[in-house]
């Protein structure tokens, strides 16, 4: 009976330790958010979002061109990466257990491990050099290469959760393998596939390194894929390393926009994933 007090005390100690350690990771997140908001909130205004940058030395101006550029790069990268990534993910989940899917899976994992700056060089060699100049398309290609493995693996994982019974039900009705995938497997896992795409967009939205020598940045508004475009991470990088105090302020402002965007994507992805819980299981 004497031992029980020691055990209760040990239990409290262990619970307390776990509780404390699990709260620790929240601290950097809270500090980062606090820092960005306190430094950048003063820059945020309607005109900051909707006006173009002023020449160096003049105060004011905004990041409209960077917001448009980031949106452009995301759309370009998605057009390139989503069909390829989803199809490869479908292939991995529906034809598992063969040699080639294993190879594709390993390739996707290796691709995910390539540093983004290296991906940038590749896009530079593939797109910038042949086109004789920095452009949005090159940035889109670089970001797509980063997106593809994320989409492949999340699509695969989500489709593997689709119950085998549903595939059997479809095949037993005389449907082909292809129509089964298209009409039963993908619709059932659609919410999860969408989540994967959103997470991959959140991931590339903040990529800077591969854009430095592809999309390059542009102080003006560019709408053509053959022109260099600005992007929020590039604005932050260029402004923060500039000698102008007003640009430092704007870099903080751009950070808030970028962080808010990524948060929104992640929260949407989580919400969709939660809703999916009901549609994948058959109960």
């Amino acid at each position: 009976m004497k031992g029980i007090h020691i055990r209760i005390w040990k239990d409290r100690l262990a619970t307390g330790t776990v509780w404390f350690l699990s709260l620790l990771p929240l601290i950097p997140l809270a500090l980062i958010l606090f820092f960005i908001v306190s430094k950048g909130i003063s820059s945020l205004s309607w005109s900051f979002l909707t006006s173009l940058p002023k020449p160096p030395g003049e105060t004011g101006g905004g990041v409209f061109n960077a917001i448009v550029g980031t949106a452009m790069l995301i759309v370009l990268a998605s057009i390139l990466a989503v069909p390829m990534g989803v199809m490869a993910g479908v292939y991995l989940s529906e034809f598992k257990g063969k040699a080639l899917p294993g190879l594709v899976r390993t390739a996707a994992d290796l691709l995910q491990g390539i540093p983004s700056i290296v991906v940038g060089i590749i896009a530079y060699a593939w797109v910038v050099l042949p086109m004789h100049g920095f452009n949005a398309l090159a940035g889109g290609v670089a970001l797509a290469i980063i997106m593809i493995p994320i989409i492949v693996r999340t699509t695969e994982e989500v489709l593997l959760l689709v119950p085998q019974e549903l595939r059997e039900a479809s095949l037993a009705l005389g449907a082909s393998r292809w129509r089964t995938i298209l009409k039963v497997v993908i619709p059932t896992g659609l919410a999860g596939v969408t989540t994967g795409i959103l997470v991959s967009i959140a991931r590339i939205a903040g990529e800077t390194a591969p854009l430095l020598f592809t999309a390059f940045g542009n102080p003006f508004l560019a709408l053509k894929v053959t022109e260099p475009v600005n992007a929020l991470p590039l604005v932050i990088f260029n402004y923060a390393t500039s000698p102008y105090q007003d640009w430092w302020r704007q870099a903080w402002g751009a950070s808030i926009i970028l962080v808010a965007m990524v948060f929104l994507l992640n929260i949407t992805a989580k919400a969709i994933a939660k809703r999916m819980g009901g549609s994948v299981t058959n109960e």
């Binding site: 019974e165 479809s170 005389g174 058959n282």
Partner: protein
């Protein structure tokens, strides 16, 4: 003599190197309920999965022998066509969660790219749901998702889905093993009515169920068809000692 819907000749089935069916010769009689019973692992599920060519969808699975669907060689037919003529209901109710009740019933058409006119589609849905004794329960919720139904209702929805394409035979793989006694009773009574329009083959490990619902019974053991005959004869005067032992609960 009765007409035969499905007939196997020396049917052997394998998973890789493991043989799970050994020279099964079985004739399924038209418009009757045939029960296939036997202990776990005896090959009864594999047998009916051969009859609609689902067996071969498992990697490494193959089969030898012959199967006849009426006068057609089932193994030389296109498997997708076979599966439209020989429907299947599974152990666990599996309505498509992304589709409404209405579209679940029509799934056999939709998944095969066959378009029906609105009136024809409506009629097919109603007929199939009436055949599956589900119409009265769902007629006001046809455009809701099928996953909100109870387990027994879901299973009847799956039966309706299989019936909608007007198959010649319906294979049922332990269709009530995931259901409560009341839902089981409902489906058993349904089968007695359904056999007028479609030949039924049911796999069951429940001896009492085989006795209640079937006209013919096949007893399988370790991949072999031990005994086959009318349910009455097999249950009252089994010829093989193994059948008798199984029926009296000595193993299984």
């Amino acid at each position: 003599m009765n007409n035969v819907t499905l007939k196997t000749e020396n049917l052997c089935a394998y998973f890789g190197k493991q043989q799970v069916l050994k020279k099964v010769n079985l004739s399924i009689v038209e418009n009757k309920v045939t029960a296939i019973m036997g202990p776990s692992g005896c090959g009864k599920t594999t047998l009916i999965r051969c009859l609609n060519r689902m067996h071969e969808t498992t990697p490494g699975a193959r089969l030898t022998g012959r199967i006849w669907l009426k006068d057609q060689d089932l193994l030389s037919m296109n498997p997708m066509l076979v599966r439209r003529k020989v429907g299947m209901v599974f152990q666990k109710p599996n309505p498509f969660p992304t589709m409404s009740i209405y579209n679940n019933v029509l799934a056999g058409y939709r998944l095969n790219g066959i378009r029906l006119k609105k009136r024809e589609a409506d009629r097919t849905v109603e007929e199939a749901l009436r055949s599956a004794a589900l119409w009265d329960e769902v007629k006001d919720a046809l455009h809701k998702r099928g996953t909100f139904l109870s387990g027994g209702q879901q299973q009847r929805l799956c039966i309706a889905r299989a019936l909608a394409v007007k198959p010649e035979a319906l294979l049922m793989d332990e269709p009530t093993s995931a259901l409560d006694p009341k839902a089981t009773d409902h489906i058993e009574r349904l089968m007695a009515k359904l056999k007028k329009q479609v030949t039924i083959v049911i796999v069951t490990h429940n001896i009492a169920q085989a006795g209640r619902i079937s006209d013919y019974t096949a007893f399988m053991y370790l991949g072999e068809l031990i005994e086959y005959g009318t349910t009455e004869t097999l249950f009252t005067a089994p010829k093989d000692p193994r059948t008798e032992e199984y029926l009296t609960g000595k193993f299984g």
